[in-house]
Symmetry: C2
Subunit: 281 residues, 2 copies
């Protein structure tokens, strides 16, 4: 597979790079970033997948996430995919709003037209990109974990629940935990998957748990000054579902923090250390 | 003085904010960012001034500088001014290039027309903004230090040399040390200060040292993969000037690093710890 180097910069004694490649899933070029920490020649390293939120590309966390210092210390590869297909021929939101279409792929394989051809972010982040990354970087594929923010927190938790054998840890900042029940989610799942809400359940963390999916444990942080907390995020629904299913959940309410990367970067090191402990055990 | 809040976000247990105010120096609105770390009520904290490079605003280091974790641990206020006046009436580079005019104020008070009315970044960063910050934030004005990148490294070193009684420490990433001798500098100093090179010397670190200015010591990092190193930065000229003047200089050549914030963020913590040791002694 072709991998075009967009940039490579030394940082924290490792290499922060951005690549582009033609995706057979999305039928577009896709861009992603990879940080490879300093390591011994020939070593295979654990990899943390970071799924971004609405409106983001790979660039937001790459520039503002403050993960490199911790990844260099902990020996973690950090991969940040884009959040949707992009290109002149890719249909976006008909109304041009920020919460559907470009930048808002919601980590599903769309079944509705005109989105089905390109919006295949589920298969992209769970199959195509992991294979590409494993082929080009010193990854130990037996040691993978996943994290994300907001829409990407939704992505991380659903990806983990449906692939519990592959990911050793999963955490989220400010995740959308019950998209079937909140405005961002109903718009996205309805638009990409159609009106049959049964099809939404495998892309809804709370519904997946209700339907029997399990994962070893979750770490979730949210800020109590997050403007989206009560309408879109609703962490109490995750708490209730995990309690009922006896899934260990560390749910932390961070006083005064909002939905921004100023919040994410504050707790990034905590999350990475938590992942590292589970990836290296 | 009026201070308009653009944003305030909790981060690393402190507050990262962006403010705007009408400047009597530049006769424009000016924007700057301030991080105030967690502190006891009533405490006065040391302040680190960060001067940015060509094309930057306050936002670049605020988003990419990765200084908040260290500032929170070390108890440092961190202020990032803009790099030039801005607004519809402010003259930019006639050719529209990146290295003069908007985003390229070079930390001088212009004497040439049409720049003299607005381009007063020297007085802005050494007088107006420090007074504004001291009036609005819990700053111990007896404990100030200054650092910067590239054009802002030039700014930091010249500001320190001409105000050695005020700043307890000065450091730079990839500074322009001899602007009178390099393309970026001759364009800027010629454009703002006119053809008489004598007027340039007080805005040239190497010339200031040759002319007798002194500072306690400097810390300077540069990357040996910096594309601007040999033509624009020329750290060897600073080394020679400091050697001759017996100014202690810690000049570190960082292998493989370039001119970007991926480099700056790698060594930001080092610089801040170095500043903190001198600000608290």
């Amino acid at each position: 597979m072709t991998l075009q180097t967009i940039s490579q910069n030394k940082s924290h004694d490792g290499i922060q790079a951005v690549y582009k490649h033609p995706s057979h899933q999305t039928k577009t070029d896709m861009t992603f970033s990879v940080f490879v920490p300093p390591h011994q020649a020939g070593a295979k390293l654990p990899v943390v997948w970071y799924l971004s939120g609405l409106t983001c590309t790979h660039a937001n966390v790459t520039e503002k996430g403050e993960y490199r210092h911790a990844c260099a210390e902990l020996g973690l590869i950090f991969v940040a995919p884009d959040t949707s297909p992009r290109g002149g021929h890719v249909p976006g939101d008909p109304a041009g709003s920020y919460d559907f279409g470009l930048g808002a792929g919601f980590y599903v394989d769309a079944t509705e037209q005109p989105y089905a051809a390109n919006y295949r972010m589920w298969s992209y982040v769970t199959q195509e990109l992991p294979e590409l990354v494993a082929a080009h970087f010193p990854v130990d594929s037996t040691r993978q974990s996943v994290m994300g923010h907001s829409m990407g927190g939704h992505g991380a938790l659903t990806v983990a629940l449906r692939n519990a054998d592959r990911y050793r840890a999963a955490s989220a900042f400010s995740p959308i935990v019950a998209p079937s029940l909140v405005p961002w989610g109903t718009k996205a799942l309805g638009g990409y998957l159609g009106p049959n809400k049964q099809a939404w359940r495998k892309h809804d963390t709370v519904a997946l748990i209700e339907d029997g999916a399990r994962f070893s444990e979750f770490l979730v942080d949210y800020g109590d000054a997050d403007q989206f907390l009560s309408e879109q995020l609703r962490p109490e629904l995750l708490q209730a579902a995990c309690d009922k299913a006896k899934i260990p959940l560390t749910l932390r309410r961070q006083a005064g923090y909002d939905h921004s990367y100023y919040f994410i970067s504050t707790f990034m090191r905590d999350h990475l250390a938590w992942h590292a402990a589970r990836l290296k055990s």
